[in-house]
Symmetry: C2
Subunit: 246 residues, 2 copies
């Protein structure tokens, strides 16, 4: 079940058998399931656990007092919500399930045991954290500078690649559980405008989107209209010098 995390971390560094075992052990405790649209953590809560998404899609979101809502990040299997989050006294945002979600909730103690015993995992977690932050920056750029059309194209390419690294792309298509309202909240657009932009993307032959499945018909064109530069995902195998030699 936690294979996605291992697969994800191994985008950075190959882990030893012991590392993998320790990860699986930590992820094995405290597995919880959440219905779609339920919150895993809520703003104001004291964070006590580190969430690891095992299956389903989740999101981080923030709201304004008048109800405006921004999805600031998406989580797919293998994503770790926030290593060390328990350092903070209160959550400054919410984590919500988009689909039904199963998550491993690792308590502070076992998390700290894990990192105190497995230095290679510490490195991998830092890498993970840096990548998550880099994605957040790219979203800021995305919302700040790209047009609606480019913005949605960018999000689609990103999610496709991220799912691909955990083995969840099937050819040129992925599961796409986001409603148009979710998409609107993630891109800072209106649901109505999202709808119209999707229609334009279909008309242009870039994508097919129906029945909670996204098929990318022309990846080259999609990437180029999105001005997609994959560097920020840091997907190449960067920590080769740290590889476990098993």
């Amino acid at each position: 079940m936690a294979n996605a995390l291992i697969r994800r971390l191994e985008a950075y560094v190959r882990l030893s058998a012991d590392d993998r075992k320790a990860l699986l052990l930590a992820a094995g405790e405290g597995i919880r399931t959440f219905d779609a649209r339920r919150d895993l953590m809520r703003e104001g809560d004291e964070p006590r656990v580190v969430n690891l998404i095992l299956s389903g899609w989740a999101c981080r979101y923030k709201t304004l007092p008048d109800g405006r809502r921004q999805i600031v990040a998406l989580f797919v299997p293998g994503d770790l919500c926030d290593p060390h989050i328990y350092i903070l006294k209160r959550m400054d945002h919410n984590v919500g399930a988009i689909t039904p979600v199963t998550a491993a909730q690792v308590g502070r103690d076992s998390f700290e045991r894990l990192i105190s015993e497995r230095p290679r995992i510490v490195q991998a977690l830092w890498w993970h954290e840096l990548v998550v932050t880099a994605i957040q920056r790219e979203w800021t750029l995305n919302i700040g500078q790209r047009t609606a059309y480019e913005r949605m194209a960018h999000l689609m390419v990103e999610m496709f690649l991220r799912l691909q690294t955990v083995g969840m792309a099937e050819g040129n298509s992925i599961e796409w559980p986001l409603t148009q309202l979710d998409l609107a909240d993630a891109t800072g657009l209106t649901p109505v405008h999202v709808n119209r932009t999707l229609q334009a993307m279909r008309r242009d032959g870039l994508i097919e989107l129906a029945g909670r499945r996204l098929t990318i018909l022309d990846m080259a064109a999609l990437k180029s209209t999105a001005m997609f530069n994959p560097e920020y995902l840091h997907l190449e195998h960067e920590g080769a010098h740290l590889d476990a030699n098993e």
Copy 2:
């Protein structure tokens, strides 16, 4: 010179004399100065050092192939650009000086020595990293959901509070080296519209902005139009249980 960092980390946890000494030592090596508008690090570079801003303002920014530019973060004295950045193979963004900047560039080795010997500093750095990420999330919300007027109000309150925690606010005013073009790039607006929005804010008696100095005339009103919730800055003294007992 590195007092701002200590002051900033001590927003989280009180450090021991030894901790402080170790920080000052690390920050003392490799001090460099940069002219305004120069880059400290550039996209594509291999990151070798951790930058600590000692004086001046800097920013992180990303650009699109056609020249559009987004400032995704601002740095003021006491900010650490990216602990552990050297884990990544290449920079996915630029760090540029807004004003003349002096920065301590801590090499990988001395950085790792610092954190291997001083566990309380490790905690403090994780806190720092979590706060930086939280700010990035708030910027995503800011650009995605707030109007131009609200957005600029929010940025002003944030920078005021951040400067205040490092002792660089003077009453209700701060240095404000951002040109309207910088402001536009940071908020995802047009320079023209920034100009008009500033005029509206002045007309409404919220601020005074002239000669690179921002004075907040009505903090309560500014906060409320910005829907400012300071939680994301995690400014309260959170790590009390970790305090050095000296």
